[in-house]
Structure formats: C-alpha cells, structure tokens
C-alpha cells in the first residue's frame, strides 16, 4: 500500500524535509556476500557500444535542418551591458536568429564573471554562429570586481547567511586542552572538465519541446525547463542515452539549454548549443576554492576535546554553500565542536557540485590537522583515529558503520611504512600517510522502475534514469537478473528518455545505485511473483514451493523444471509487467559511507616534485553489486583526486578576474603517466541491514574524499614538512620543506646545550 510520509531527503549533503508517497518494500535483503549475479564481476552491458564508438552522445545527435548556436560571453569579470546591437550579426551569411539579454533564461545584462552568457546567435554552421557572435556590438559599463574571499566576508558579500554550528563549549575545552594545534589550509578552484562539454539540442514538435542533453538528471531537466518556460511538464521530453562525464556539473539545465530552446522556437528548426572546451573552462561551473582556519585541542592521552573551524567557500557569482565543515562535525567523537561557514559572492565563475562537494575540501583540512595533532602528541596517526572513533552522528545512530573494519584492513598497508622509509635516499624521501573518509551516499525515494518480461523469457528493465558512466545499466541488469533468476544476458536495460519510463532520481550524491537499485529489485520481484502465479496454475502446484533459478521455474521437490520462456510462452504475445518503487530510508538514522586511504609518496627534496607510488583505498559502502565496476569507480576517484592534489589549478588574473587557464594544456589533469604504479581497492562489502532491500550505498564520491589529506600526510611522514595548500605545487612543497627546516633548526637550538 502506498504510504504518505514526511521525511528528510539528502542530495550532496543538502537536506530538505519533503512529503513523499512511498510503497512498502516487503522484500527481505539477500544474504551478504556474492550471490549468483550480484556481487560477481560483470563487464559493462553497454561496454562494446561505447568502446566501438557506436554509443550516441548528445554531441552525436544530428537532426534534419539543425542549426548551431554560439554564445556571446562577457570579457569582463563584472560589467553591465549599456547598449547591445544584434543587427550586424543578423546581416551575416547563414545567421538565422540572434537573441540578447533577457530573451532566454540565463542571458543577462549584468555579467557577474568573465564568461557570463549575454547573447546568442543561431546559424547554419557553428563557424557562422561564432562569426555572428563576434559581430554583435556591445557597449559595456565596467563595474567593481571583488575577487578576495576574505574581503567579501568583511564586506558581507555572501550568497547566503553564514552557517554557524556549535556543540559543547569550544573555548573552555581549548583552554583546558593539553595540546592545541592550529593551521590554515587553502584549497584551489578546480574544473570538472567532462570530456563531453555541456550541451543540448532542442527541437519543438507541435507544443512539445524535445531536449537532448548531456545530463545527470533527466527529470530535473524536465522539471526545470517546464517551470522556466511555463510549460506543463509532460510537454517537455528529455533524452540522454549516453553522456560523456558530469562529476556534479550537469545536474540541471543551464543557459545553453534555454538558448537552444528559444532559438529553436524562433527559427522553427532544431538548434544545438554546445560549449567549447574554452567555454567549459570559464562558464560551466567549478569546485570552489576554500580557506579553512582550524584548531584542534586534545588531552595528552590523545582524546580530542575541541574542534574549531572557520570555513570560507569562494562560491563565485552563484552556487551553494557546500558543507566544508561536515567532516569536522561528523568524523570524530568530540564533545566540543564549533564551525562557521561563509559562502562568498565573488566575480568569479559559479560553484557547482563537484564529486563530494565540501567534504573533499573539508577532509583535506581536518585530516591534515589530525596528523599534525598526532605528531605533536607523538601518537600513531592510526591509533589517534581509533581513539576518537564516533559511535553515533551527534547522537543519531548510524544505519551501519564499518570504519573500524576499514582501519583493520588498513593495518598491513600502514605497516609498510618502515620498509618505505628505508627506501629513501638523499634526494627522494619516502613516506606513508593516511586519511579517513566520511560522506553521504544513501540515496532515497522517489525512484521507480518497471520490468517487462516477454514470452521469450527475456526481461527488460525500464526506467527513465541516466547512466553517467558509472556502469548503471550493468548494475541494474545484475539486480534484476538476480531477483528474476535469469542469466544477465537475458536482461536488457532501457533508460535515458523521460518519455520511455517512470521517474528516476538524480545521478549525483553517490545516489544512483542506492536510489534506483531497490526500485529495480522490487520491480523484478513483482514480475517474478506473476510468473510464479502463472506456473502454479499451469502445473497445479502451490506458489510457495516454486522459485526461479538459472532461467527455469523449479519446484522445491525438484519434480518441476520448466524454462521461463515455456511458462511465459503460454501467453504468446502477452507480457508481464512488474512495477517497483524505492522504499523510505530508515527513520532516525544517519546513512553515511566510510573508508580510509593509505598512500605512499616519494618527495624530491631538491625540486619539490611529489610522486604517489602506491594507494590502498578501503571503503565501506554496504553491499557491492559489481566488484569490477566498483574497482573502476575507486581507481577513477583516486586518480581524479591526485589531479586535485598535485596539479590542477584554475587560475585567474588577480587584477581583472579573467580566467588564465582556458585550455587543457594550461589546466593539467592526470594522464596515464601520472597514475601510481599500484592502486589497491578493498571493500568491506557488508550490506547495510537498515537500508532498503539491497543494503547498498553509493561509491561514486567516497574515493575522491580522503586522497588529498592522505598524500599530504604521507609527505609529512617522508619529510617532516606540513603542506597547507592545494595543489601541492613544487613551490608549496619547497615552502613547506623550508619551513620544516627552520622549525627543526630552532628546535635543535633550543634543545642544544649552552655553548661553552
């Protein structure tokens, strides 16, 4: 029966109270461990299509008569359009339409950052559209540019109210602590740089708008486009069969979608609007920079008694204030914690969610601070983490937490440090570091799926979700195959089209599997029940003695073994349709993911070069559905995190706010040559018994959370130097080495016997 509940919904660490109707989920969880299909490595269902270049991305959509749009963007970090003349563009060959500020959602007369969209042109070819954009005459009024986040805090230039939290009495606890450490950490702005740039193709058919878009959230695009354009939602169809990466930056439509829709309306033709790589670098969102001023106090026995943090998120012209303070509040059992988080409004490109927004940055600060505390206390960093283990989330029990298991599995990797140190020489210093991981990833309702079973005994999972490259089709096929007792080869997955399946949740916040997987299992179970009802009547047996395994309906006594296609084949062209919905999350519990990384580095103390030589990534995300795909997720997160830690840096001209790193040779992402020689992935693989019929949490984000701190802590172990800034460039590494040397000299001076 459907049940109306008031519940807390979480995406990317943002909570809201919502009313939802949930259907009961009477299925018991499967037993832990590998099953027939679930828990076994499965190559991707759509692997060959992607590898052979047959998968059709938004970039490959070609509609008859399609025009191409180009966007005029502000060259100034803050300016207002005084006057704009589109006529010179319209006079050029091939140009079919031009629109200016206010004529499509997102095109605005006030440009708040360099790269802000102002006007757009549609033409027969992209080159003609670009020529049109260049012909547009604009008279700009330049406005004051604010780039410094501390100045923005002082002047109250914030995107929303500062977020303050406190439990206990931090000032008193710090005053009474045996040891206090204090440090300021800075993290940089980084770019998602999905290889398929943000883009959409829009076409009107009658009063229906068809939107082909590279997106992480088909239904979110449908809802936002309908609302913005004043259309009923069922007059917007959104299609995304394959998409070339998002990492949090493609959760909704942006100006390119509205530009394409408006230009399509004006010309009566389909219009593509695709960002160039350079626009991707200026206008598609980014992970915001942070400044974190942190303090920790502990007793000499290693009990952490106080944590205090001031977090400044450089959000830019827009964006939301992600929970950079989250790890400080949640990772350790500490009675006295105080945080304040500012989301500053600057004349820089907008913040967008980027793979565990806030927690990546906050974990770098916190987990470096914990190691600095361990050094000062002379306590083993692993031991310090265990001594301050949180057994609840500020009093709320965890639905499951196996971080201690992760620590236990980390021990052999951690013990390698003696041997690693021994491989140091005069130039290359080697060391080992660790950092813990905490993040969300529980998913939630609503999410729906259907399973269609044909008379050929083959099943199709139908749901209008998206596969952003995480192996969604494969995991969903595994879950349906397991429940239906069919081989995975007999299960297809149809997704990617809002007109071709029920509502599905966003592929963000590590929520795809925990949100959609239970709905798919429920739909498969519904279909299976119907097959068994038919078989019971056909073979005059009780339903309770029947089951489906390996594609056959079996009776408990072994007398019946009828292939599913024979049973369903009785019905000739009829089809069985199973429906499934995602049940609610457990009430009164915190659903979180945990893990730990142990990293080995080598530091060239002469040049400041840092090499990551080995990573052991151990994660607790409930049941693992596809160990092969899961290891790919972890490796990918680790590698993206290494880029964030060591090389990636979106640079601005500090005077004008113009973006300096607009191409992929200036913005340095990891290549295959930058990958550590060894990445070890381990999973606790224990279902969360309180979470859905599946017991799985998400894994997309956890592996990028702890990597920066683990690298920084390994650097400290190797050299004694405290790095405080990302990226750990050679300049930052050499600065930290010099600082450590000075500290050491002073210590020796103080400790040395008085000169005779």
């Amino acid at each position: 029966m459907a049940r109306l509940i008031r519940t807390e919904k979480e995406v990317e660490g943002r909570f809201e109270e919502v009313w939802i109707v949930v259907e009961e989920d009477p299925l018991e969880q499967w037993p832990a461990g590998p099953l027939t299909v679930v828990g076994r490595p499965a190559p991707r269902k759509d692997g060959a299509e992607r590898v052979r270049g047959e998968a059709r991305y938004t970039a490959d959509i070609r509609l008859p008569g399609m025009l191409h749009a180009a966007v005029l963007r502000s060259p100034h970090a803050h300016a207002r359009v005084r006057r704009i003349d589109l006529a010179p563009a319209l006079a050029l060959p091939g140009v079919r339409a031009a629109i200016g500020p206010g004529e499509a959602h997102g095109l605005e007369a006030e440009a708040g950052f360099s790269g802000a969209p102002v006007a757009a042109v549609a033409a027969d070819t992209f080159d003609q559209a670009r020529a049109g954009v260049e012909a547009i005459e604009v008279e700009w009024e330049e406005l004051e540019v604010v780039l410094d986040p501390d100045e923005a805090v002082r002047r109250g230039l914030l995107n929303d109210e500062p977020r303050r939290t406190e439990r206990g009495d931090v000032d008193r606890a710090l005053a009474e602590a045996d040891v206090v450490v204090e440090a300021t950490y800075r993290t940089q702005t980084v770019l998602h740089n999905s290889l398929e740039t943000h883009q959409a193709v829009c076409e009107w058919q009658g009063d229906t708008l068809h939107v082909y878009i590279s997106t992480q959230f088909i239904w979110g695009v449908r809802q936002a486009v309908a609302e913005t354009l004043g259309l009923p939602e069922d007059k917007v169809r959104v299609v995304c069969e394959f998409m070339g990466g998002g990492f949090g930056s493609k959760n909704g439509p942006d100006e390119y979608t509205f530009v394409a829709a408006e230009l399509a309306r004006r010309t009566g033709r389909p219009v593509r609007c695709a960002l160039t790589r350079r626009e991707e670098h200026t206008s598609a969102g980014n992970r915001n920079a942070t400044i974190q001023r942190l303090r920790a106090g502990a007793r000499s026995d290693g009990t952490i008694v106080a944590l205090d943090g001031e977090f400044t998120n450089s959000l830019g012209w827009s964006g939301w204030n992600a929970s950079t303070e989250g790890p400080m509040k949640m990772l350790y059992d500490c009675e006295n914690v105080r945080t304040v988080t500012y989301g500053t409004k600057l004349n820089t490109p907008p913040m967008k969610a980027f793979r565990a927004p806030g927690f990546v940055e906050g974990t770098f600060g916190l987990e470096c601070l914990i190691d600095e505390l361990a050094a000062k206390l002379d306590v083993d960093p692993l031991e310090l983490r265990r001594r301050n283990y949180a057994s609840s989330n500020e009093g709320t029990p965890f639905s499951s937490k196996n971080l201690e298991d992760c620590y236990r599995r980390a021990e052999p990797h951690w013990e390698r440090r003696h041997e690693v140190h021994a491989r140091s020489d005069a130039v290359w210093k080697r060391g080992v570091g660790m950092a813990s991981q905490i993040w969300y990833g529980g998913g939630g309702p609503p999410s729906y799926a259907w399973v269609r079973l044909g008379s050929d005994g083959r099943a199709t999972v139908i749901t209008a979700m998206q596969d952003i490259g995480t192996g969604t089709r494969t995991a969903m096929a595994q879950i349906a195959a397991e429940e239906l007792g069919l081989p995975i080869e007999h299960v297809e997955v149809v997704l990617g089209d809002s007109a071709r399946g029920p509502y599905a949740s966003v592929s963000a916040g590590s929520s795809t599997l925990p949100s959609m997987g239970p709905a798919v299992r429920a739909a498969a179970a519904d279909a299976k029940r119907q097959v068994i009802e038919i078989a019971a009547q056909r073979y005059h047996l009780e339903e309770r003695v029947l089951d489906i395994r390996d594609g056959a309906v079996l009776s408990a006594d072994g007398n019946l073994s009828a292939p599913v296609h024979e049973v369903v084949g009785l019905l000739e062209e009829a089809q069985i349709l199973g429906k499934g919905a995602r049940g609610p999350n457990p009430t009164g519990m915190s659903v979180l993911t945990f893990g730990v990384h142990v990293v080995e580095v080598a530091v060239d103390v002469e040049t400041g070069e840092v090499r990551v030589e080995r990573v052991a990534a151990i994660h607790d995300v409930g049941r693992i559905v596809n160990p092969l795909g899961a290891s790919s997720q972890v490796e990918g997160g680790v590698i993206q995190g290494i880029g964030h830690t060591l090389s990636e840096d979106r640079l601005l001209d500090p005077e004008t706010g113009r973006i300096l790193t607009t191409s992929l040779d200036a913005y340095r992402m990891p290549t295959i040559a930058d990958v550590p020689p060894e990445i070890v992935c381990e999973f606790v693989d224990r279902p969360d018994e309180h979470l859905t019929n599946l017991g799985s949490k998400g894994l997309g984000e956890p592996p990028i959370v702890p990597i920066a701190a683990a690298i920084a802590n390994a650097i400290r172990d190797a050299t004694g130097a405290d790095v405080h800034e990302l990226p750990i460039s050679r300049e930052e590494m050499l600065r930290a080495l010099r600082e450590a040397e000075t500290r050491q000299r002073e210590k020796e001076k103080r400790g040395a016997p008085a000169a005779v």
């Binding site: 190559p43 991707r44 759509d46 692997g47 060959a48 299509e49 992607r50 590898v51 052979r52 270049g53 047959e54 998968a55 059709r56 991305y57 970039a59 490959d60 070609r62 998602h192 740089n193 999905s194 290889l195 398929e196 740039t197 394959f242 998409m243 070339g244 990466g245 990492f247 160039t276 790589r277 952003i468 490259g469 995480t470 192996g471 092969l628 795909g629 290891s631 790919s632 490796e635 990918g636 997160g637 680790v638 590698i639 993206q640 191409s663 992929l664 040779d665 992402m669 990891p670 290549t671 295959i672 040559a673 990958v675 990445i679």
Partner: protein, 146 residues
Amino acid sequence: MSELRLTVNGEHHVLDAPVGASLAHVLREELGLTGTKVACNEGHCGACTVQVDGVPRLSCITLAHAVEGEVTTIEGLREHPLVEAFVRADAVQCGYCTPGQVVSAAALVAANPQPTREEIRHAMAGNICRCGTYPKIEEAILSWQG
C-alpha cells in the same frame, strides 16, 4: 569549397569541403563517422585520435585537405581484439575518450605487440580520460591478445 579526396577505412570518398576544415569535422559531419569524438578541438586531449597510414593523428587539428594516406577511424577498428579487451578489463566509464584510446592503442600494438607498462604509459599519455580508467586501459592493452 574545394574538392577533397579521402580514403577512410578502405573506402574512397570524393567530397566538397571548405578549405581549412579539420579532418575530425569532415569525418563527423560529412561522412557521419561519429565514433571519432571531439572533446577539446585544439589538440590537447586525444579524444579525436585517428590513424593516418597507421600513425596516430589528432584529427581535430589536422587539415582534411592536407591528409595524404589512408585514414583509419574507430569504425575501421570495431573488430580489433582491443575492443573485447577494453570491455573485458572494464577500460571504459563514460566512454567519450574511449574510441580515441582504442585507436592509439591499436597503433601501439601494431608496432609493438607486447608493450611493457612503461611503453604503454609513454604511447598513451596523449589520451586524457577524465573518469580515470587508466589502470584498466593499461590492463586491457597488456592483455589484448586474450
């Protein structure tokens, strides 16, 4: 517009294309060979890699009219054992860079059927994968012969 003669995957084409058109543009827009992806359009990422006479070339910064030799795209390599090796090893996430990875890898193994890890890293360093499938790509190339 100017006449353009191209041999792509063994087929001869005579086309009209503007002087200055890139090979990637002609392959995708004129010949409908959309397996070749364009991700940066300025020669930095490797997604658009094709072979010209067996040598990897960045088709987004190659002038179509200047191509002398036979072009091989991912469409001409669909039966290559590397395809199965990539799928088996899970050397694909979003898949947008993957055709270019396979084209580069095919040129590598044609010249050096048993490359070492170091040789793979050297030959494949021009193909960026933002999802970070690199360890699996290395595995796929190491095991491409099955």
